[in-house]
Amino acid sequence: MSLVYFEELFFTLAFIIYIIASIGFFVFLVSSKEKVGKFSVTASTIGFVIHTIAMILRIIESGRLPFSNQFEFANSFTWAIVLCYLVIHYIYKFTAVGGFVMPLAFLMMGYASMLPKTIKPLMPALQSRWLTIHVGTAIISYGSFAVATGLSLMYLINERHKVKDKKISHLPDAEVCDYLSYRVTAFGYLMLTLVIVTGAIWAKKAWSRYWGWDPKETWSLITWIIYSTYLHLRFNRGWKGKTAAWFSIIGFLCVIFTFIGVNVLLPGLHSYR
């Protein structure tokens, strides 16, 4: 059997496992059974390994990184979301985080699964080593923002229950979610800055100008401005908690629009579908 067959099989498997993990996390959140939580984390990890194998098969098959059409981008973003989640998980061991991040991952993968999967060679504009750096930083940046959003959602839920005076025992402290979300956002922001800078350097080589108000360029600037606002208010005005959490969610919506909305609604030079 061919590589393609296994690649598709592994993608489907990973997708199913991500769904199972998401459901598991949900059960964990409402029932707070430790075992279910552990199971979901293990499932996410296994799903990630399988997903990675599928990606590697695709890389072998196409002879390049999976960065050439919307399906491959969405897939790589999913992969990076799970990667960032697992990194955060294995450092801080907050099982509940998965309940808010894994659904994002499986939604993104669901979006990917609706797109044409054919392997096509790179078009001339994409034949550059900047592709790796530019898209590589982009997926890491978006992965971090997804995790930060998950943490912010968790914070909001935590707060609500605190008000009702029955703190959910298996959620990490609200304060911790808030801080961690901020740190992860800061990292994502640093990466987003790199995406824009490498994009500008590449645009200079490929399109002759480093900045041309292409919709994708403009929307990445808008996302950058939103996160800049967040970081300034946080650092200088001590914005924390609720407002910061909402801001982080708005920032992520903006990220999603930059990624999907711009390609679908505002096509420009940058839409490789």
């Binding site: 060679p121 800055t193 108000w213 403009t218 939103i226």
Partner: protein, 414 residues
């Protein structure tokens, strides 16, 4: 009053307002088509058309309003940086030590060995200072400059690109192999030796190649094969492979077979034959012709596998007829014989000189280094006294407290 306004102009509130305005204005620019004619807006947006034109939503990024916003932003960020800089510089000195915040957690516990902790801190790059009843430690004082360095980077980017644009020099040329174009001011000639496409096995286009030569005072001084992502640079001007197309040879003969008219047409070009008031319109040349599901002519690849022309004739601006022909196959119109053949490729080159780019690069570098300082090399302090160990930092008190806890636990006496 004036002082108050001044403080507002360089304050954070104003910065946020500008951020939001710039973001909104940018969004509008991505939603409303840019740079179309006045009539386009008046016709398509009805009564909003006038508002669009008044607020310059038709050319957002080069509009007066946008430039004003950016200028105000520069004033704001410069003012803010200049205001903060002296106190930041003061914090670089050894005699500066911040007071612990109200919420600083006391990490002290009798099981910890504070002398050992001191050694560990020292090993971790902290600088130790004696104090009345213990010691103080500080690390990464330089990080306090992070925000100013980032701001400086942004100022360099905006001003640099603005000035660069004022002096930028750019254009677009089409060349057939063998043709050249003179850059009089710069004193050189650009010659296209050859232009061709590279194909993959499945016939799709892999790359576009232009073989270029620079000739100065009759001598060849530089030769380079360029493609997308690989421009030629000469005397500060970059030449980019940016498009391509086909030119086809049109021949009109009379009934006796004498050639009465010849012309070279690109796709979508007209030729007007005066005596008959005949317009020959080359709708397109399709090297690998096919009809798509909407009934439109298309080309599957750019290889000459199955070449055809789509041609439309007009007389006195009235439609006469349309034709699909193969090379050399005549179209008869009254006593005329019209043929297309010998299509060849031309290259489309963009050229641009813009020194603003170098400022932008330097600005980006500053910005990135500044962000690294702010996020990861922020200043950290510890105050160790009688039964107190207080972490002090402004950026990331939570993470820093965790780090110190880890360090402390390794000094545990049990």
């Amino acid at each position: 009053m004036i002082k108050k306004i001044g403080r507002f102009i360089i304050g954070l509130k104003f910065a946020i307002i500008l951020f939001i305005l710039i973001a909104i204005y940018s969004i509008i620019g991505t939603v409303i088509p840019q740079g179309a004619t006045k009539e386009f807006y008046l016709h398509n947006y009805e009564s909003f058309g006038n508002i669009i034109l008044l607020l310059q939503f038709n050319k957002v990024y080069s509009s007066f309003i946008y430039r004003t916003l950016l200028l105000l932003f520069i004033v704001n960020i410069t003012g803010c940086t200049i205001k903060l800089l002296p106190s930041q510089i003061a914090r670089l000195k050894d005699d500066y030590f911040p007071a612990p915040g109200k919420s600083a957690e006391n990490l002290w516990d009798e099981k910890y060995d504070t002398e050992e902790f001191k050694n560990i801190l020292e090993k971790k790059g902290f600088k130790i200072y004696k104090s009345e009843n213990g010691y103080k430690a500080a690390k990464n004082r330089i990080g306090v400059l992070g925000s100013s360095i980032t701001h400086l980077g942004i100022i360099i980017i905006i001003l640099g690109s603005f000035i660069g644009n004022l002096f930028a020099y750019e254009g677009y040329i089409n060349l057939l192999p063998g043709e050249s174009t003179a850059f009089v001011e710069q004193g050189f000639i650009l010659k296209l030796d050859d232009f061709y496409l590279g194909f993959r096995e499945d016939g799709s286009t892999e790359q576009y190649y232009s073989e270029l030569k620079i000739i100065e005072e009759g001598k060849e001084v530089e030769a380079k094969k360029i493609w997308v992502n690989n421009p030629l640079k000469y005397k500060g001007i970059n030449f980019y492979q940016s498009s391509f197309g086909w030119v086809s040879e049109l021949t009109i003969k009379d009934s006796e077979g004498n050639i009465i008219e010849k012309a070279s047409l690109k796709n979508n070009e007209y030729h007007f034959y005066q005596p008959k008031h005949l317009t020959v319109y080359l709708y397109g040349y399709y090297p690998d012709f096919a009809i798509d599901h909407e009934g439109q002519p298309v080309t599957i690849t750019q290889q000459k596998k199955h070449p055809h022309y789509a041609v439309i004739l007009y007389e006195f601006n009235n439609y006469v007829d349309s034709f699909i022909t193969s090379p050399g196959q005549p179209i008869y119109y009254e006593d005329l014989e019209i043929t297309f053949e010998d299509s060849s490729l031309y290259t489309g080159l963009t050229y641009r000189r813009d020194f603003g780019y170098y400022f932008v690069l330097i600005g980006c570098l500053f910005m990135f280094v500044g962000l690294l300082l702010s996020f990861y090399l922020y200043p950290r302090f510890v105050i160790v006294g009688d039964k107190t160990i207080l972490p002090v930092t402004k950026q990331n008190i939570w993470g820093y407290t965790m780090q110190l806890k880890n360090l402390l636990s390794s000094t545990s006496k049990q």
